[in-house]
């Protein structure tokens, strides 16, 4: 499951969709909108994307995760548009017989999203806003 959505992400629904009886672990990365950045208070965020390419890159990351790690399945859902502090911007769920490869694949997926998926974050502060360029 690889999706770009504009509504709040339903985490339980993703876990329910990915988990199968043969899985011994479901590892979840929940990216959360933080209330601070660059020593400033963040009021909210907006995410923009080159949607057709972003979806293609999420699918590629998923395919690489499945070929390079001993996992059964991976789901990535990234939200776009306006998000408040505390809301979920991205969910990565990895299902596997054993936890080790699932942790590793999940780390690989979020690190690679931050490098190659054409999605951009704009941070809104009390005194202005800026587009963030480059991941961390």
């Amino acid at each position: 499951m690889f999706l770009l959505v504009r509504e709040p992400i339903d985490i339980q629904q993703i876990i329910h969709a990915i988990q199968m009886p043969e899985d011994g672990a479901v590892i979840l990365f929940d990216g959360v909108v933080r209330n601070n950045a660059r020593d400033k208070a963040v009021r909210f965020l907006e995410y923009d994307a080159y949607e057709s390419m972003a979806l293609k890159k999420l699918q590629e990351i998923g395919a690489r995760a499945k070929s390079e790690y001993a996992i059964r399945d991976i789901a990535i859902v990234h939200r776009l548009g306006h998000m408040e502090v505390g809301e979920c911007s991205v969910i990565i769920a990895v299902a596997s017989a054993h936890r080790g490869p699932a942790f590793d694949a999940c780390r690989f997926a979020i690190d690679t999203i931050k490098k190659i998926v054409p999605i951009w974050k704009k941070e809104f502060y009390t005194d202005g806003e800026i587009w963030i360029e480059g991941g961390h």
């Binding site: 080159y50 999203i113 999605i119 951009w120 974050k121 991941g135």
Partner: protein
């Protein structure tokens, strides 16, 4: 005979648009398309060093050739997640 050109994030703000077209006969490669827009919007020049390009939704290089019907996107380093 045209190339569809897309701008995202800060580049969309600077150019004041997200989508336009250029005459395919007037350009050769990715860089030549970008130069057209730098002439129109000189503020784009400072993005050149960090700029990323995608040709038909795949990462491309400044010297990648462009053809009629291509979709070419210009954008800054990504910051999703």
């Amino acid at each position: 005979m045209s190339i569809r050109v897309l701008f995202f994030a800060s580049l969309a703000d600077v150019s004041g648009m997200r989508e336009t077209t250029v005459d395919a006969a007037a350009v050769t490669d990715v860089n030549s398309v970008f130069n057209i827009f730098v002439e129109k919007f000189p503020a784009l020049e400072k993005y050149r060093a960090s700029l990323l390009f995608a040709l038909n939704a795949e990462f491309a290089r400044p010297e990648s050739p462009v053809r009629d019907g291509d979709e070419l996107a210009f954008f800054p380093p990504v910051s999703g997640g």
